[in-house]
């Protein structure tokens, strides 16, 4: 719709001939995916799964357990047959919807079996079984949305599996805290796989996107350990073990940094610096067991996001650049409140913070136009 309107405008302005406009329309029509169908189909699948979970949770007494399980398996088989038929007919949106529905249905079925047989396992065990049983199914999908949901489910399983390790004291708390930080690095490691990127671009984007979001969020959070370390000194040894694994993963990612920036040479260095910061700022403050280093914490946070902005600039990703600048601005405002103390401290903090924010805004306003043209140029350059 938006393209149609623009094409009419450009034709009226004499920028485009009717023939060119027709060619563009034909090309865009061919490229467009039925997003509405995908969205409505996905919503329908989600609604059905939630409905099934609610029915199962009600544990309807008048239906014997054996009948419930029989019906459950028949419905699963019907979904499987439907999926194969739809795939053969090439109805992509319905195929993706059925995969999402079947994926959720398997979890509901595991819940039903647990209910009928009063299986007393932990939630993470059910989630792990679900992830294992549906792995081949999910890999058949091309949907970005399902890939994102699937990775989120894997994360939930991972984090839930870590919790009982702490509560049952099977492993040291330090090790578990360190293992939490491996999740985004593992996502990024998967995203560097060329075969995943080639065969399942949706999964590649989901691993990459979630990996970045999580890595930035976790590292940002870890900078607050400069204020007060969360671990006791006897936990630091086990935390160091997890940090060593994280270091190995970061080295692996640094070697393959080019794949994380889609081959942009100028972005490899900032990407490597950012990866190094994930390790240094993500694990360093906790390992050093520092306390009351508020200024260092704030500077580390700003440095992290400044490098993220550098990566955004080098990869011509305006969204990352805008986000990083906004986060730095918000962190600076937070610094004002942190320095509230005596009148002199408050005054100096507000003046310094205000100057930094004005300088940041000035720099941003000046560079905006230059960046926009740089990004536009890059977009029109043929990819080599």
């Amino acid at each position: 719709m938006h393209v149609d309107r623009k094409l009419v405008e450009w034709q009226k302005a004499g920028l485009l001939s009717a023939g060119d406009a027709a060619k563009i329309l034909a090309y865009e029509g061919h490229q467009t995916r039925p997003y509405l169908l995908y969205a409505v189909g996905g919503l329908g699948a989600l609604t059905i799964v939630l409905g099934l979970v609610a029915i199962i949770a009600s544990n309807w007494e008048s239906i014997p357990g054996g009948v419930k399980l029989g019906v459950d398996l028949v419905l699963a088989a019907a979904l499987a047959v439907g999926l194969v038929v739809v795939d053969r007919r090439g109805i992509d949106w319905l195929r993706e919807t059925l995969i999402a529905l079947y994926w959720g249905y398997v979890l509901a079925s595991i819940g039903l079996i647990s209910q009928v047989y009063h299986l007393g396992g932990a939630t993470w065990q059910a989630l792990l079984l679900w992830s294992g049983l549906t792995f081949p199914l999910v890999t058949r999908s091309h949907s970005n949305g399902l890939a994102t949901l699937w990775i989120l489910a894997l994360h939930t399983t991972y984090f839930m599996a870590l919790e009982p390790l702490v509560s049952a004291r099977h492993v040291a708390e330090g090790l578990v805290v360190g293992l939490v930080g491996l999740a985004p690095l593992l996502c990024l490691a998967v995203a560097t796989s060329a075969s995943v990127a080639r065969a399942r671009p949706g999964f590649h984007h989901a691993f990459l996107g979630l990996g970045w979001i999580e890595a930035l969020a976790m590292t940002s959070g870890a900078t607050f350990a400069f204020y007060d370390g969360p671990l006791r000194s006897e936990e630091l040894g086990s935390f160091a073990t997890a940090a060593a694994v994280a270091a190995a993963l970061v080295v692996f990612l640094m070697v393959r940094a080019g794949r994380l920036v889609h081959g942009r040479r100028e972005a490899v260095l900032p990407m490597r610096v950012l990866l190094a910061l994930f390790l240094v700022l993500g694990y360093g403050p906790i390992l050093l067991a520092t306390r009351d280093l508020e200024l260092i914490g704030a500077l580390a946070f700003i440095a992290l996001w400044a490098v993220a902005a550098w990566v955004g600039y080098a990869t011509h990703n305006a969204r990352v650049l805008n986000l990083a600048t906004a986060v730095i601005g918000v962190r600076l405002i937070a610094v004002y409140f942190e320095v509230f103390g005596s009148l002199m401290d408050t005054g100096l903090g507000l003046v310094t913070g205000g100057l930094l924010t004005v300088a940041l805004t000035y720099f941003w306003a000046r560079k905006r136009r230059e960046l926009a043209s740089r990004f536009d140029e890059a977009r029109t350059e043929p990819t080599s």
Binding site: L73, A80, V84, V106, I113, P136
Partner: protein, 170 residues
Amino acid sequence: MNQRLLLVAVLFPILGLMALIGRAELNLRNGRTWELPISGYDPRDLLSGHYLRYQYRFQWLEGATSCGNGEDIDPDCCLCLQPRPGSREPLVHGVRCEAVEGCLSWLRGRDVAGEQRYFVPAERAAELEHALRDRPASLRVAIGDDATLAVDTLLLDGAPWQGQRIGSSK
């Protein structure tokens, strides 16, 4: 090739679910049947969602080693079950987990320690909560030779709850 992969992908979950059902059914059928006494886990709040929260209350053999009760059961201890004359509830004594040969059935402490859950229908959850608080309750279970514990049903006054009119006491 893609069609074959899809076929495997859609069949795999069904086979997995069938295996899960088969294993649970086998555990229930092949194990030795016992009735294990239980009580509410937290008397102030027995019901959580759609399941009752309970803990095991074992009858420990007098003078023998005990592994504790409810939340205090030692997870590293093993429970040796012996029949009690005139009752389906076993007499229990604690043993080292390497020395369970003489036991008719045995359980790992970690499998029966602390809070346990029993799924109940939403519409009868409240009355079952009251019944668990007010009446002698036990679970009919099947215990395999490898200490696998499969829960069959909740018994109130020694009879399955499904066939009883319990009524809610407010």
